[in-house]
Symmetry: C2
Subunit: 412 residues, 2 copies
């Protein structure tokens, strides 16, 4: 059994750069989805406004529509008197034409009558007897009016391709009447488990066996990243068997994850299988990342295959730091980081040259977040449940002092 | 048309406190879901480990299983010689019983043979001819061994009720063989639009009409918050009609959102309808929040009804700040904030006494996030698409200076 020496670890940054390079701009195809299913998806084509927003001049205040010129001399001591010619009803095109010296009652969002070019706020006017309105302040042309196309001009780009659609974007699309959109298909991620000690999680493990935790955790993270996991079960620790499954997976899916067993033997087997199968082949064999050092990444005719460590903690950290951004790229987007700033409650040692992630619990105290490191053997799986996220120690830093500001990446 | 004066605005903090109080610990019922659908859901009952983890003593290293006492005198100059009695195969219970002076080859994750109580790392031993192994360093009993139940003891709580399940939690549950879990049902959120100028987004609006952007944006935010939107369409601006729809909605759903039209009239109508329908009734009428001042909140026999402002920007901000935490509480969880620390690129004025949210664009420069405020009329809907999130100006602060550190809440 060959033991692994990490003489030439790739930095996390370089590993990401190489992934991007080997991906070569590959994207999943586009599909059309209904607007109400589009949040969290990535636009495959830009959205252009088919009509201006708003498409009519609207009042932005409750008040009186006027010809601005009529109000130029208005003041509290010498108010201008205007004749109330009508009332604009919300949602209805006014059927009046405002003449000089006339005004119309108008609600917020009401359409300006022809002839009017400004709105006097309710607070700056007073209704008198006989349909007369006193105006106490002048208004400039266009004041309190949202002009046609002021928000979005007809033909303007409302959202660029590559937008990760939020609820706010969905509201904007609805305002434009865009009821379905072209988005990138969810990347299909093949998940294969190896390790002769691993049994399906549904089974009762024998005396020396462990349940397959990784496949389920990785599948959940795929879902949370907008991807579609394809769970291919457990393959025996034998390069030919793994090679066969991996080949099929890479034909059918956009990305392959092989989640290793605990032993160095399982890792060697993954390395051999990916090296045999893939062209140009393995381009990362060990990363300057803890946990996650034994990670393998191969490029297989433009598709990426990841060999993740067997420890669940390591596998999930590597997914978060490497696979998640790649999935975002496959959808034509940039990854949105889920990180918050916190202060370390304890000193955390770290080896310079490695990017290190320490599981932490977060608590909010006196307006700031405190990150409490959860130490423990890396084999511990219980710490997965209690941790809120990962404290990041950059590669150039030798440990974190108590109270030092740190970045924490939230689990998702 | 009564104009709204905000003499007695409720603070954002108080509004949240009152919501919690009126909710009175109400939770949605529990349902059972498959583990692979459980990420993002909230546990309704705690998970107890039915078996210990691990359930056998495992090696945490590739090396040699030994009786620790045999190695106590080992050193580089005077190595201990042990007889290789066998090889532990990963996933198989060893069929040997280690005698004094014996050792067994063992991979990481392998089960310790009877008689062994520690593991010597591969690096600290050397295989000699004739099945003899030289050990260069002593190991203590238990060294490089994960004991039965060391990770989680049988009967211990693995995850408490109220846990928002992450991918890491799913991995932990799979390790324990928990293949389905009791979670709180997704809260059903009734969404009603008002405003006589509003038409369904699918329609072409008439000369003075606007498409219903809010309902779709709010529905998307419901989905992203783990809730199930129930879209009830547009109700005419008439208290009795709204009252009837609201009553049905509150019977069927866990929470009601009435998204108002632009005008003060639409707001008055919502206020009247909720005041008539609900008991104990409206407990927030105006919030010290910008955008979002005109917000109404009513308690209807333990269910909450929100009257949101008509401007899409305001409606979405109020959802994020008030409705989202309430939905988390309904699922038995605390809301997880999605906020990052950034620095303002410009001075942002603000009125003391109001909690203010300014739409910002984020960019990363020299290891820090910069938040670029997007100014514009509050009626602007295009800024929804370009903003990455909301810069928060706390109520006690009069504006933010250029370069000052700020919290930004990310759109979801």
């Amino acid at each position: 059994m060959a033991h692994i020496h990490f003489r030439n670890l790739t930095s996390l940054r370089d590993a990401l750069g190489l992934c991007r390079e080997h991906l070569g701009g590959r994207r999943t195809e586009a599909e059309r989805v209904a607007l109400d299913r589009a949040a969290g998806r990535v636009l495959a084509a830009r959205i252009v406004a088919a009509m201006p927003l708003p498409h009519f001049a609207r009042s932005t205040m409750d008040g009186y529509a006027v010809r601005a010129a009529d109000t130029f001399s208005a003041s509290t001591s010498a108010p201008t008197m205007l004749r109330l010619a009508g009332q604009v009803r919300i949602g209805h095109a006014p059927d009046m034409m405002l003449q000089a010296g006339e005004t119309a009652d108008i609600p917020t969002g009401g359409m300006l009558p022809d002839g009017a070019d400004a709105v006097v706020m309710l607070e700056h006017a007073e209704a008198m007897s006989g349909d007369m309105i006193q105006v106490f302040r002048p208004v400039a042309p266009g004041q309190h009016v949202q002009q046609v196309g002021e928000d979005i001009a007809q033909g303007a780009e409302a959202l660029p391709a590559g937008t990760l659609l939020t609820g706010a974007d969905v509201a904007l699309l609805a305002a434009l009447g865009v009821m379905d959109v072209e988005v990138h298909m969810r990347p299909r991620v093949a998940i294969v488990s190896t390790g002769d000690e691993i049994v399906p999680a549904e089974f009762t493990p024998g005396p020396a066996q462990m349940r397959d935790a990784n496949a389920h955790g990785l599948a959940a993270l795929c879902h949370r990243s907008g991807a579609e996991p394809v769970m291919l079960g457990i393959v025996e620790d034998e390069p030919e068997a793994l090679g066969k499954t991996a080949e099929q997976a890479l034909n059918d899916c956009d990305l392959l994850i092989v989640s290793g067993g605990s032993s160095a033997g399982a890792r060697d087997m993954t390395l051999e299988a990916l090296q045999n199968l893939c062209s140009p082949g393995v381009f990362v064999n060990g990363i300057a990342l803890r946990p996650g050092k034994p990670t393998i990444i191969a490029s297989c005719s433009g598709k990426l295959a990841f060999g993740l460590p067997g420890h669940p903690v390591s596998a999930l950290v590597v997914f978060d730091r490497l696979v998640r951004p790649v999935l975002a790229w496959l959808m034509g987007a940039e990854m949105r980081e889920n990180r918050i700033s916190a202060h370390a409650t304890r000193t955390v040692p770290s080896e310079a040259g490695l990017t290190e992630y320490v599981r932490v619990r977060l608590r909010h105290e006196e307006q700031q977040w405190l990150a409490e490191p959860l130490f423990g053997k890396s084999a511990s799986i219980s710490s997965l449940g209690t941790a809120d996220g990962l404290l990041e120690i950059p590669a150039g830093v030798e440990g974190i002092d108590q109270g030092e500001p740190v970045d924490v990446i939230l689990w998702s």
